[in-house]
């Protein structure tokens, strides 16, 4: 019994930091509809700033003062980020802002490294709260007790702010209907700034508060991100009580998981999330998302037309130039181009879902890596010939996408996105942990192409055929009845259903098809690298694809591949420099601000203005 109580207390104490970070994210999302990928970075900043301040400020007052100041400082940094980076892009298409926040992650990573150095910092102890108290004979750290008390206090303060003050009423009103808040004469821009700063401040506070239980290190940002997403989604996006309850549930379950099923540490959280969303699709306290209800859809997509003769000739010339690469390019140029082509196909497959279907998948790496693993496992365990394994890679990925899509497509909008993320993470954990079968983190080695394809040039041609073929086929499908039906389902599900189109079936097939194509890219990838590791299933891989699709231009047909080619190329150059993450982050933010329609979309508008292209009639 004593142990049980002690475990419960541990779980509740752990919930503290998690709640603070999650409530900030939830608040920001609720009001501004921004999925702030950089939230983990603000948490990390809170830890570092808190650490530095505690060194300076002495005693008990200094310690707690430092923690509060850390929260405040991070809030100010958040405010700065909002004003400089996000404010210029609120009018951009929905979810575009998350790309900017990804740029912020990279910038903060390098700035933190410059400021605090590479070594992990062990958090300072809280004066007067060192050691344990005994509760029913079990030791419980004093600081845990402090956290237990502080967290509900912060939660209550937030609750008071949200329900009992005018500001809170406005914020809640903005969560429901931001247009109306504007109509009430409230300066919406400053409301957003304020909420963003508050959310970031909470993350910073969480980071500083966990110092005595941990410390500050450069991997904190990504390490907490998935847990925070899970908490916010289980609780219901935008709900504070939900975030609190979910943080407690996850933390307490984790403590018992550690004790009774120690192997479960990676997957438990995601299983809980999937289960909750199966029963309550919008989280414990969430509201159904209605697409576009927040007036942030941006301008409507334009009609599409198959490429004219000129463009076709241009594409043919481009492909011919690529095909001739081995004549004038070095071996490495072919290797690099192979990489880029594979990534283009991967990005194009996500773009198909995102651009035509409006289906934002945060877990597209599951099908890319999944396809690669299908091929790798077949070769490793069944001795399948490379050619057959290569063909089965997209089929396996497509099948996986079909099953996952079947579950996820019950949801819409950001919940759909989060559920796809959860499944991708689940798959990653499985591969990462099930070492006997998948090789775990040590991966699967020796996956080289068949004899006739080995060598840089033959494999380059092999990739060229399948990547370009895949991209062209994706593009062709966009113009086919199926592609039209997918857009119809996105534009008006009501009308589509009322005219006999089974939108769920269309989306399922589109999701599987995109998974299939991502799996094809994965198959190409695995045999070009000769090995496969869980990295290819990681959340960062999904983000990579998401970012290039957005930066290329969601609302243009070629956005995915242009974005992919551009950023793969830039990355190859930038990583040669020391502070490449900073440069990359700034570049991403720059593109987001200067080209809110994505590279292709913005170029098109410029061209129209200059009269090179015919102006669309709705262009204002």
């Amino acid at each position: 019994m004593g142990l049980f109580i002690a475990q419960l207390l541990t779980g509740l104490a752990n919930a503290g930091a998690l709640f603070m970070v999650a409530s900030g994210l939830s608040l920001i999302f609720g009001v501004t509809r921004i999925v702030n990928f950089a939230h983990g970075s603000f948490y990390m900043l809170g830890a570092y700033v808190g650490y530095t301040l505690i060194q300076v400020l002495p005693g008990v007052v200094g310690f707690w003062g430092a923690i509060l100041l850390a929260g405040l400082a991070v809030g100010l940094i958040g405010m700065l980020v909002e004003i400089l980076v996000l404010r210029p892009v609120y009018r951009a298409p929905e979810l575009f802002q998350l790309v900017a926040t990804f740029g912020v992650i990279l910038v903060i990573q390098d700035l933190a490294l410059m400021t605090w150095g590479p070594e992990d910092l062990l958090g300072p102890r809280s004066p007067g709260l060192v050691g344990v108290v005994r509760i029913m004979g079990e030791p419980v750290p004093k600081y845990d007790i402090a956290l237990l008390v502080i967290t509900p206090f912060v939660a209550l303060a937030l609750w008071y702010l949200m329900t009992q003050t005018r500001v809170g009423v406005l914020v809640r009103a903005a969560t429901q209907d931001r247009e109306m808040v504007g109509a009430l004469g409230v300066n919406q821009a400053w409301l957003f700034t304020g909420v963003f700063a508050l959310g970031c401040g909470l993350a910073g506070l969480g980071g500083a508060l966990q110092l005595p239980k941990g410390g500050a290190d450069l991997m904190m940002d990504f390490n907490i991100l998935t847990a925070v997403f899970v908490v916010v989604v289980i609780g219901g996006m935008g709900s504070l009580p939900g975030a609190y309850l979910a943080a407690v549930i996850i933390s307490v379950l984790n403590v018992f998981g550690v004790t009774y099923i120690p192997q479960s540490t990676l997957v438990l959280m995601f299983i809980v999330m999937v289960l909750v969303l199966m029963i309550r699709p919008y989280g414990l306290f969430g509201r159904e998302e209605v697409a576009g209800e927040h007036g942030q859809v941006g301008e409507p997509e334009r009609p599409i037309k198959p490429a004219g003769l000129q463009v076709r000739l241009l594409v043919a010339a481009g492909v011919a130039a690529l095909a001739a690469l081995p004549l004038y390019g070095s071996g490495f140029m072919q290797v690099l181009t192979t990489d880029i082509l594979i990534f283009c196909l991967f990005a194009a497959s996500l773009h198909f879902l995102l651009g035509l279907g409006g289906l934002v998948s945060f877990g597209h790496a599951a099908y890319f890596g999944g396809g690669a693993y299908v091929a790798g496992l077949l070769v490793k365990h069944a001795g399948t010939p490379m050619e057959l394994a290569f063909i089965l890679a997209p089929l396996g990925a497509g099948l996986g996408a079909f099953i996952i899509g079947w579950v996820c497509l019950r949801l819409t909008g950001v919940y759909f996105a989060m559920l796809t993320l959860a499944f991708a993470q689940l798959l990653w954990s499985l591969v990462f942990q099930w070492g006997e079968f998948t090789g775990g983190d040590d991966g699967i080695l020796g996956l080289w192409p068949a004899k006739w394809l080995s060598g840089t040039t033959p494999y380059f041609y092999f990739t060229l055929v399948f990547s370009v073929g895949g991209v062209l086929f994706l593009r062709h499908v966009a113009h086919s009845p199926f592609g039209y039906a997918l857009r119809a389902a996105r534009d008006s599900e009501r009308q589509a259903e009322a005219t006999g189109i089974n939108t769920r079936r269309v989306r399922m097939l589109a999701f599987s098809f995109a998974g299939f194509m991502a799996g094809l890219a994965g198959g190409l990838f695995v045999f070009s690298k000769g090995s496969i590791f869980p990295n290819e299933l990681e959340i960062t891989r999904s983000f990579d694809a998401l970012i290039v699709v957005f930066l290329g231009g969601v609302k243009t047909l070629s956005g995915g591949i242009v974005g992919a080619a551009f950023f793969k190329g830039v990355e190859d150059v930038l990583t040669r420099f020391e502070y490449w993450r900073l440069a990359m982050g700034l570049l991403i933010i720059g593109v987001v601000i200067l080209a809110p329609d994505g590279i292709v979309g913005t170029l098109r508008k410029w061209a129209e203005r200059l009269g090179v292209l015919k102006r669309a009639e709705d262009e204002s």
Partner: protein
């Protein structure tokens, strides 16, 4: 531009073949070094410093075969796929004669797989995975650093000497953690058949829930604990474990916990009494070991980490192999590495012909506090050669080539 450098390389190679050596004497020999300079900066920076120190020394002494030795450093972001691309670039465009680098095992394994396929020599400097030289070993890959198995075996030897019979383990839940636990178990049970493992905890890497892990370990009431956690996880584990009295009256064995990279962040909270593997540079004053430490401190105004000595020995190994090969041809370098013996700050090491593992050893000692910092005391240097399985077992582990 790319083409130009490529052509230059070609011309250089042709010139080398056609002309007497003296003409090409000033052309540097290039080594491709791939690492996670950003993602694992705390480890990669001291490692790189060690390399640069060694390079300066080698080149001051006339280089290798009369030519200067040069390293090309490239960041792979900790991604195996990127590392492969960079490896290709280094070998085909930049004119590197062989590859080295990596801290992460998965990146090391990816490069080794490429090395075997393309016929590049790869010296895995830091990655620890046992499979690198055993299950997935190949003709072109060599490994310098004391592997997981060897270090676990050293700790198992110490553990067998104690009275403890019930053991609990805690290790990050991925390949390295699993290897480390199974090697420890295997060696301990061989030395002490009555040993019993009463709990195995597997926290997620860098996401440890330390309070819960400590409670779970306490619940199993072991005589001793074997710790494999490292980095931020280690700090959290030590703090919760100390607070909650987990380590009282228990012997703890910590893999790598004595390496400055992991020990120093703990500061005054370094857990006294743990038996660990590590690098006690502060006590190395004599001989080659001491000379390295003082040279390093003089050059960098900083103390060496384990990575620094590994970096230093990487350059030494490559220089020795090249000298022995007398050529920069892959096959010659490969042959030279087999059974290559050289003197290092850690003493003489040999790249075993049987599995390409070097016999670099490790320091094993007990943690204590000195001036509010954790240090290893009563340490001994254990030669790696003594902690490898028998040749017979090794040849069973390694695929027949």
């Amino acid at each position: 531009m790319k083409r130009k450098t490529f052509l230059k390389g070609m011309i250089g190679a042709a010139a080398l073949a056609a002309m007497p050596l003296s003409a090409a004497a000033q052309d540097p020999i290039k080594i491709g070094e791939i690492n996670h300079y950003k993602r694992m900066a705390a480890f990669a920076e001291p490692y790189r410093n060690g390399i640069e120190l060694a390079l300066e020394q080698v080149n001051e002494n006339g280089g290798v075969m009369g030519r200067p030795l040069e390293f090309i450093f490239r960041d792979d972001q900790g991604e195996p796929g990127e590392a492969i691309k960079i490896a290709e670039e280094l070998m085909t465009r930049d004119g590197a004669v062989m590859l080295t680098g990596s801290i992460l095992s998965n990146v090391g394994l990816a490069i080794s797989s490429l090395a075997a396929q393309r016929g590049y020599v790869y010296l895995a400097s830091e990655p620890l995975a046992d499979s690198l030289v055993w299950e997935s070993g190949n003709d072109y890959t060599f490994r310098l650093r004391t592997s997981t198995y060897m270090q676990a075996a050293m700790l198992a030897e110490e553990a067998a000497k104690t009275d403890a019979t019930t053991f609990a383990t805690i290790a990050p839940n991925y390949a390295y953690g699993k290897d480390a636990v199974s090697a420890f178990k295997e060696n301990l049970l061989r030395l002490k058949p009555e040993a019993e493992f009463v709990a195995e905890q597997w926290p997620a890497l860098f996401k440890i829930d330390a309070g819960a892990e400590v409670q779970a370990l306490e619940r199993s009431k072991p005589d001793a604990i074997y710790n494999v956690t490292f980095g931020p996880d280690l700090g959290k584990f030590v703090r919760e474990g100390t607070d909650r009295g987990l380590f009282e009256g228990r012997q703890v064995f910590g893999l790598l916990s004595g390496e400055p990279e992991y020990l120093d962040p703990l500061g005054a909270e370094a857990p006294e009494g743990w038996i660990v593997t590590g690098y006690p540079w502060y006590d190395l004053k004599e001989g080659a070991a001491g000379a390295f430490v003082s040279a390093y401190q003089e050059r960098w105004d900083d103390y060496p980490r384990l990575g620094s000595i590994v970096g230093y020995m990487t350059v030494q190994s490559i220089a020795a192999a090249l000298e022995k090969a007398g050529s920069t041809e892959t096959d010659a370098i490969r042959e030279a590495f087999k059974d290559l013996t050289l003197d290092t700050p850690m003493g003489e090491i040999t790249y075993r012909g049987i599995d390409h593992q070097s016999t670099m050893g490790a320091y094993v000692g007990t943690l204590a506090l000195r001036d509010d910092k954790g240090v290893m005391v009563d340490w001994v240097y254990k030669d790696g050669a003594d902690y490898l399985p028998s040749d017979e077992e090794v040849s069973k582990l390694r695929p027949a080539d």
